[in-house]
Amino acid sequence: MKYLARKFGMLIFTLFVSMSINFFLPRLMPGDPAKALMDRMEGVEAEKLESVRAAFGLDTKDSLPVQYGKYLLNTVKGDLGISLSRFPMPVSSVLASALPWTIGLMGLCTIIGFSIGTLLGIWAAWKRQTKLASFTVGFFTFIRSFPYFWLGLFLIYIFSFKLKVFPLGGAFSVDQTRGSAGWWLSVVQHGILPAFTITLSSIGAWLLMMRNNMINVLAEEFITLAIAKGLPMQRIRLMYAARNAILPSVTGFAMSFGFIVGGGLITEMVFAYPGMGYMLYQAVNAKDYPLMQAIFLIIAASVLVANFLADIAIMLLDPRVRDGAK
């Protein structure tokens, strides 16, 4: 229990640090980004100007600590400011429309990628003398070296442009009425390529990690004892080898989740998939700072929560951690 409490404390604190980064970054930048932005926006309405100044904390007579406090309070309440590129829509509404797409895409791909990658890793370690295993490892290693977005571009080129099998982008067909069966079908159709891109790129990481873990575990003495006991190979492979090898994988998953999320964001940008990633892309290009920062915060929060869930998983899987022995 102490273990979980400590991890939860870290979660809250890191969230706090992320919010602070959001607060201080615009105020630390050289020059005056707010003024530069305002200069660029000609003939702008008074309210918009107000929001821009508020976003950069230029308007208030409040001292810095007070501004900070107000900002923290607002953020926790869910008030993330007004979007500049979609004025006067509040940032939280913009996010709410994008979030489901990202969760759907990323969630699905992470689960599939992790499962396939881990299973392949177990297989690759067990059969590591065979050519097929070596080739698989090599293939996925090569795929991993490609920048995420390039893989997406390449797939679009082949499948959408040349072969015209899949659509060029977006998440659904605008011709269908939302919620209809046809619409759901188009969702699946639009989702296949982006999902494929993310999954393909991430499988490699799991595969390699699990394979290395398995190889290390298979050299341990308790495997020899299991063989000496005459246990069936299936049980040795799963309950003795894989069960131990997966522990560092779960830890590794937690640590690299941030990286995976990054990859997912980029894939969305390439496919114009209307999730957080694409929204971020548009926000960057439109210099919509409030929206950009809010997206950063939400992403940071989700990564932190995922990490926490992984910590719980480790606790359930490893009896040594449960007793605080580690």
Partner: protein
């Protein structure tokens, strides 16, 4: 082969394939173990004793393998059996206790799971029955059966080792191979473990091959003693006799190397030099470079084990054995 011999090794050669060549850790070893006999195998680190233990149970993996020779268990040659056939013997007829129980026990499974799966792998019984057998075994090794639900890291070193012993005896094997089972424990715990083994042996009547580098342990409890050096057995005989009057210069050196608790204080002896590389062993007798009584002929030909007196073997030119 004797009628009551449970294990016979004939010219066994085994070792490791490395980039530099084949390291023959077990070089032409032959011995016979009778039913109920307690054989101690003693030698320095790296002399091949563990490789010998693993070979008997056919546990050599990766780049380790049996090169030639045969292992006859209860009349059957098990040297080349396939894994499926070998599993009939594993744990039911022969079992092993490893050196480090912390490393040999699966950290994520409870003691119960690890004991029960050994039973269920070989016997068609219910889980409840298997658990009952396991708990009975734990009692025999003086562990509270309630602790069966514990995980390895929750037990003390001595308890873990006793769990290992209980696990090994679950299926009442004929042969128990113990690879330095007490090396990682303190002397007090060592003694209690050894006493427990003796007690269990009286109850179940199994044979034991006990491997160690600590000669003092073996002298009291073993029936016979084999001394290994650089992959070969250099002396063999009833332990009392070997202890009282060792034939081989190496054994003599070993006996001098540990002080007695009683008697006059004498200067402790040692054996100068280091054990040879098993990759390219020296010509002739392997102990010759370190032997104080070696003569020129010792480096020319390898001395074979010869009978020096009834039941005693020695591989040395100077202890009465002649070479071929």
């Amino acid at each position: 082969m004797h009628a009551d011999a449970i294990l016979e090794l004939r010219n066994l050669k085994a070792g490791y394939a490395t980039n530099a060549g084949f390291v023959r850790a077990v070089d032409d070893v032959s011995l016979t173990l009778h039913r109920g006999e307690f054989l101690g195998i003693a030698g320095e680190s790296g002399c091949g004793k563990s490789t010998l233990a693993y070979s008997i149970m056919r546990l050599l993996r990766d780049n380790a393998r049996i090169e030639s020779g045969s292992i006859i268990f209860d009349g059957t040659d098990i040297t080349s059996l396939d894994e499926k056939a070998m599993n009939e013997y594993r744990w039911t007829r022969m079992a092993m206790v490893f050196q480090s129980a912390m490393n040999a026990l699966n950290p994520v499974l409870s003691v119960e799971e690890q004991l029960v799966d050994a039973v269920l792998a070989h016997k068609q019984v219910t889980r409840a029955d298997a658990k009952k057998t396991a708990m009975e075994m734990l009692e025999l090794v003086d562990i509270n059966p309630e602790r069966i639900a514990s995980y390895p890291h929750q037990l003390s070193g001595g308890m873990r080792q006793r769990v290992m012993i209980a696990m090994a005896l679950l299926l009442k094997p004929d042969l128990l191979i113990m690879d330095e089972p007490t090396t990682a424990l303190d002397v007090v715990v060592q003694r209690s473990i050894l006493q427990k083994i003796e007690e269990l042996r009286r109850i179940f009547g199994f044979s034991v091959i006990f491997i160690t580098h600590d000669l003092s342990l073996l002298v009291e409890i073993s029936d016979s003693l084999a001394i290994m050096y650089a992959g070969k057995i250099c002396e063999y005989g009833p332990s009392r006799e070997v202890y009282a009057s060792p034939d081989h210069p190496y054994t003599k050196g070993l006996m001098n190397a540990f002080p007695t608790l009683t008697g006059p204080i004498s200067r402790m002896g040692g054996i100068e030099g280091q054990a040879p590389s098993l990759l390219s062993p020296p010509p002739g007798c392997r102990f010759a470079p370190r032997c104080s009584v070696a003569i020129d002929a010792c480096t020319k030909e390898v001395p074979l084990l010869q009978v020096t007196s009834p039941g005693r073997l020695c591989a040395c030119r100077l202890c009465g054995g002649n070479h071929e």
